[in-house]
Assembly symmetry: C2
Homo-oligomer: 370 residues x 2
């Protein structure tokens, strides 16, 4: 079984060391404890050197002999034990599946459940991820998956007892659905593309895929299908690690910007795995306010910015990692001034294939925001 | 180009006949008009014989020389002309892409747009679908796609100039992403499975896929990933047409029931294409209130039914196509009585693979709701 080797084995080791450490403390009549880096807002920092959101140095200790922490401590150990089982069995579930397993464990005859609500178990999974330095995916807890890809590349998917080779250049209109975990039992080979283009909306991805854009351009065409899931962010990071430039093509509005910055710098709630899912090298190719001036026809296709767009633009102007870029300051100020927004779909206006030329020209002219 | 043949050609013909009819009326100095079946609630009927929601016989005429209808008439013709282009070019877009093309057409110098909001163009596309008897997909207007499939089957995807053969038994952890249009340029061959199992949540689909459930059972494993999109509903219908029984495995709550009944009888807003997307043969295998009594461990894993669940259960008891089934009446009454609900994820409680046995046993014992 391929899952038993390599990375998964490291996970088993870490989970076992965690348990053995606790046992040892008990044997030595010491108070068992473990340390986690704090994930509260005040400990989320922008890493100036590397350009992504990460946790700071503030730590907290969880100990067993502490009235306020004993239950939480016990719960965390229960989670670790279950995940150890999942890895050993080489089976995956979700954080919801884990919750039900733990709720089941104590059964109906015991008054107190380990957990009553999933909102109790979720943060403790993150505690474990941080304390042991292993991502949830390594503990066989899948996150929601979303996102699709086509391009000159092959995927080796070691799935159960099978070794499946998927040519992502031969997935037709469907594309390859990006899984939750792109690290374990999965490999990307023969990556022959020159760059990665990420397109916010699936509709536009389908448009470009139909035109064979990725084939003509020798690119890898990805859509996160809205906000990017963990798996998609991780995959973009991995492709950037292979030296491929990453261009992002989104709506010119609150959501489009947010999706871009999440891909680029990571997000607050995943700051604890920031380095693994952020792609600071990413560039925003559009759509931008300047496009409205450049392409005459877009003037008739703008929309009024909503309150959400305005509020978001104001917020973004306050983030030091955004307002250090004069190009973004200019872009956001123009939104506040004109109160306009623009969707990427508008680029189909003159003809359906216009969007292909738009992207090509932007990349050729290196006309993008940092 | 493969798109020019067969069904697409029929679409071109119909769109051209539509235009020629209008031209002819004008030449003959008659008022151009066309007839559409009314899509208002009062004209949505449950087809007692065949078991799905469809439109009744009430029709309305749209004519050009009528102050209230002239603009709408002109708009519909503009849509038909654009779709004719799309089919001729063998290119696809969305109803949003169509909207922007039409908004573009008149340009910024003309005071009046053909459309100001997409909410104006959407219903006219449905008018055309109904008036001409061609679905949107045939006019190259993709709907949102969602849904994933694995199983013993091959897909021939004639995509642009390529003919791509996809073995849906070799799509690994990802599965095959079900496209918006499963009728044109796409074919399902070597369907060797014995039945279709539809699983509401992608998380459970992944669980079953990992266990090789579809392989062991010789089934086709589909997840609509929530409410089923047009393409997924149409695909389920097509698989049922091949003689495969269809079993649906959902949450036992408002959403789970709704998703089931939508697959089975279609929905109000798509009643105009009811026959093509409804699968009255479908059966609901769970989760059910009876499961809570049958499987002891589930007693600890139920949740309190929400207001939405209660309201939905009451509504469903009023639908004649639901309350004719004593099994559904009993199920819904038990929900109202106990105020409980149950998620399909709970079946992972005793062990992750328990869900496989649950489905297998249900099907073996023919223990499902109609």
């Amino acid at each position: 079984m391929s899952g038993g080797k390599g990375k998964a084995e490291g996970t088993t080791d870490k989970l076992e060391e965690f348990g053995e450490g606790i046992l040892y403390d008990i044997k030595m009549k010491r108070n068992p404890k473990f340390t986690v880096t704090t994930r509260t807002r005040s400990n989320i920092k922008y890493d100036d050197k590397d350009g992504f959101l990460r946790l700071g140095n503030s730590k907290e200790e969880h100990s067993f002999i502490n009235v306020a922490q004993a239950k939480r401590f016990m719960q965390t150990v229960a989670i670790a034990a279950k995940c150890h089982d999942f890895v050993k069995q080489n089976l995956h579930t979700t954080i919801r599946g884990l919750f039900y397993q733990l709720k089941y464990s104590l059964g109906e005859d015991i008054d107190e459940n380990i957990f009553n609500e999933q909102s109790e178990s979720n943060p403790l999974i993150e505690d474990l991820e941080v304390a042991l330095g292993i991502k949830r995916e390594y503990m066989h807890l899948n996150a929601n998956r979303k996102g699709v890809l086509a391009g000159n590349m092959k995927v080796i998917d070691r799935f159960g007892d099978d070794r499946i080779e998927i040519d992502t250049g031969k997935t037709g209109r469907s594309g390859w659905a990006i899984p939750s975990d792109v690290d374990n039992d999965i490999e990307f080979v023969d990556v022959k593309a020159k760059y990665v283009i990420v397109v916010e909306k699936d509709a536009l991805w389908q448009r470009l895929n139909e035109d064979g854009f990725w084939k003509k351009e020798n690119a890898i065409l990805i859509s996160p299908q809205g906000q990017a899931a963990r798996g998609t962010r991780r995959l973009i990071r991995k492709l950037a690690d292979q030296g491929l430039p990453v261009y992002v093509f989104n709506d010119g509005d609150a959501w489009g910007w947010y999706i871009y910055w999440t891909i680029k710098t990571g997000s607050m709630n995943l700051a604890y795995i920031g380095r693994d899912i952020a792609t600071p090298e990413a560039r925003f190719i559009g759509v931008t306010m300047a496009d409205i001036e450049h392409y005459d026809f877009l003037k008739n296709l703008t929309m009024r910015a909503t309150e959400v767009d305005i509020k978001r633009a104001q917020e973004m102007l306050n983030y030091p990692w955004i307002n250090r870029h004069k190009e973004w300051v200019a872009e956001l100020k123009k939104v506040l001034e004109t109160k306009k927004k623009l969707e990427q779909d508008t680029l189909q206006g003159p003809r359906l294939t216009f969007v292909d030329d738009y992207i090509r020209e932007k990349i050729k002219n290196r006309d993008f925001l940092p």
